[in-house]
């Protein structure tokens, strides 16, 4: 541990005789410029996400499984990855069974090591939930867990995310406080604000760098 002690000792020596600076964090600076009415909140999130090539649909809450089916149909995709242990995963499965959808429902129900090749190359699309949205920046908040693993929103070329209209907050600070993030974060909390992109060649924007080429957000209105 000598590197550790050397570094810390040097830092402490340099700070000798000084006081730590007070915490003068002024939260109004990160909240006041970013406040919206309920309607404009959704409008802003849509506008920002659409500006980075995200497809956004707003629909009554119960209609989303049919919309997912339609999205897959229109793209002529053959399968979709889902999380069977979640509420929305079950709803999707029920819909699939009831309507005899032709796309394969692929359950993420085993460790990645068991099917890495398939997961990396053969999955066309995925459906995941979100724990909220952020109007100020046009972002989704994803809270992956054992039921809905991290790679679901990363590997498939099409990612369909479900966002409850009532869970869109004004800004990052607001959602962080409301959901009390500092009390306990998941292994990997994510903000997603569009499909994967790069501008590394001549600053020309190209979508689908390493993650999803397409992001579709379904904003679910309260029932």
């Amino acid at each position: 541990m000598s590197a550790r002690n050397n570094i810390l000792n040097r830092l402490r020596t340099s700070l000798a005789g000084t006081e730590p600076r007070p915490d003068d964090f002024n939260e109004t600076l990160v909240t006041e410029p970013w406040q919206y009415t309920p309607d404009s909140r959704i409008q802003r999130l849509r506008a920002l996400m659409e500006a980075v090539q995200t497809e956004v649909h707003q629909l009554p809450g119960e209609q989303w499984p049919a919309k997912v089916q339609a999205l897959l149909e229109s793209r002529n995709l053959s399968n979709v990855l889902y999380a069977p242990g979640t509420d929305h995963g079950q709803k999707l499965a029920e819909h699939w069974q009831a309507h005899g959808a032709r796309q394969d429902l692929v359950a993420y129900d085993r460790p990645v090591e068991a099917w890495k090749e398939e997961l990396f190359w053969e999955v066309d699309a995925s459906v995941t939930g979100t724990v909220g949205g952020i109007a100020a920046t046009g972002s989704l908040v994803l809270w992956p867990d054992r039921h809905e693993p991290r790679l679901m929103s990363l590997l498939p070329p099409l990612h369909i995310a479900l966002l409850k209209a009532s869970e869109i907050e004004d800004n990052l600070y607001a959602i962080m406080q409301k959901q009390n993030w500092s009390a306990g974060l998941p292994t990997n909390l994510l903000l997603v604000s569009g499909p994967s992109k790069t501008a590394d060649i001549e600053q020309v924007l190209a979508y689908g760098a390493h993650g999803p080429k397409e992001l579709v957000v379904l904003i679910l209105e309260d029932q």
Binding site: I7, D24, V52, E117, A136, N188
Partner: protein
């Protein structure tokens, strides 16, 4: 362009490399176009100047607060991360950091590493270190990948391949990957995606940098647009994050303004596509994510900069690159001219603490001190002031005990003597007026070539009568006295 000093004489200096870069019109166009566009985007992203200035001030205060209790925060970060299951390592030098990373890979008998974008790993020259030990370390950020493929170094900290245009990338992909030459950027990116996805799948270890390390929660925050950072930190069984000790912030909420400042300053985006907060390895019941997460905390000169309260401000840096985007020197000579990992204004003030002024003796003077860098810095690092300070350290004699590593690199008795004469001239009204008298009378005798100045200018010919003369005539003796009247 006017005549230049032959490049051969200057090859290994900033001036020499700058001369080469300036002669490359393609390179100059690539940079000018890109920097103009980045400046515009940033300006658009901060449309309200009051909001921008308030946020910069907040960003500055957050970083200053973190630095004012840095050792405590590092310990808190270590405690939290350890509790979360992350193994924390400390390295004083890049050699130590490389050994740690290599040790982790060895323990897993790994041979393939994928790397998300990390400037600290560039400091370490990790790719070369691992390659010498028969471990492939592949860059996965598109720009970094392009640069690595061509055996180059990044020329910009955010846009590593900005010095290349699409034709140059097309040719490179054709030559190295055997694909058909195409100028279609989308197609080029598709090629990169395909090639790299295989690597993500096969990699034994993923390496990443860190944008902010949050002490309160034990969290590593990474921003990116491509998804390669998420891939590198999620797909391989082991994730190793490498970062400088200055990246720690106290509280989770501190990152709210900092992320906003970072993405808006760097790219003019309200936020990046992904903001990735990692707080631990895969939990026993989880289905993906690395089983091991390591954090390597690197010093490499940072405690040296920290020791000087003025230079400590260099550690505010959040690596957004706005200073280089707005720098008239960087825009013209590009990143490779600086010859070091960090180019541009920020490179000039952080590099001396890492490698010493002897290795970069011209860095402090390669600036017109125009102040554009300081004006846009999201955490208000007074870059021009620090450049000026480095110039002081650079010309100190050994007896004056320079405070920056290898200070006094530009110490010259002759130059010091010239400035002594200059001071004598300007502190003695008699000598100064004698000088004016001579200059105005014999100005016409100014030679056509007066050193570097006449490379770009006609020779400066003094006026026939000085302002001192004209004012005395105009105002009479009444108006010519200074001091307390």
């Amino acid at each position: 362009m006017s005549q230049r000093i032959p490049v051969t004489e200057l090859e290994n200096s900033f001036r020499g490399r700058a001369s080469e870069a300036l002669a490359d019109s393609q390179l100059r166009t690539n940079f000018r176009t890109a920097m103009d566009s980045l400046m515009r985007k940033r300006a658009d992203a901060f449309s309200d100047p009051d909001e921008r200035e308030d946020l910069r001030e907040l960003g500055n205060h957050i970083k200053a607060r973190a630095l004012s209790k840095l050792p405590d925060l590092l310990e808190q970060l270590e405690t939290r991360l350890t509790k979360n299951g992350v193994k924390v390592h400390w390295a004083e030098t890049t050699e130590e950091a490389n050994q740690i990373v290599h040790g982790i890979i060895e323990a897993k008998k790994g041979s393939q590493v994928v790397k998300g974008k990390s400037m600290v790993s560039e400091e370490m020259e990790m790719n070369d270190y691992l390659a010498e030990r028969h471990i492939e370390c592949l860059e996965s950020d598109m720009g970094e990948y392009i640069v690595q493929l061509d055996g180059e170094k990044p020329s910009h900290i955010i846009m590593p391949a900005i010095h290349k245009n699409r034709h140059q990338v097309a040719r490179l992909f054709h030559d190295k990957l055997g694909v058909e030459e195409t100028d279609d950027v989308n197609e080029l990116i598709r090629i990169g995606r395909r090639t790299l996805r295989k690597k993500f799948m096969e990699a034994d270890v993923g390496v990443s940098g860190v944008n902010f390390a949050i002490a309160e929660t034990g969290t590593l925050l990474l921003v990116e647009n491509e998804g390669n950072g998420r891939m590198s930190t999620t797909a391989p069984p082991v994730h190793v994050a490498v970062t400088g000790i200055e990246k720690v912030v106290e509280n989770l909420r501190d990152v709210v303004p900092l992320v906003s400042l970072l993405t808006r300053s760097a790219l003019g985006q309200p936020i990046t596509t992904y903001v990735n907060l990692i707080s631990g390895p895969r939990k026993p019941d989880e289905l993906d994510g690395p089983e091991e997460v390591h954090l390597v905390l690197l010093d490499n000169g940072r405690t040296r900069a920290f020791a000087d309260a003025q230079m400590r401000q260099t550690l505010n840096c959040i690596r957004c690159g706005a200073c280089m985007n707005h720098c008239p020197v960087y825009t013209r000579v590009g990143g490779h001219t600086y010859g070091e990992v960090y180019p541009g204004p920020i490179g000039k003030i952080v590099t001396p603490h890492m490698v010493g002024l002897k290795q970069v003796p011209d860095h402090p003077s390669a600036s017109s001190l125009c102040g554009a860098c300081g004006e846009v810095c999201p955490v208000k690092i007074p870059i021009p002031e620090l450049l000026q300070r480095l110039r002081q350290e650079n010309v100190k004699s050994p007896k004056e005990h320079p405070k920056v590593k290898d200070g006094g690199a530009k110490y010259s008795r002759t130059e010091r003597a010239v400035w002594r004469l200059w001071a004598g001239l300007n502190t003695s009204p008699t000598i100064y007026r004698l000088f004016l008298w001579g200059a105005t009378r014999f100005g016409k005798l100014t030679p056509k070539n007066v050193g570097p100045w006449t490379q770009n200018h006609s020779a400066p010919v003094p006026a026939r009568r000085s302002l001192h003369d004209l004012a005395r005539d105009h105002l009479g003796s009444q108006g010519t006295k200074g001091g307390r009247s």
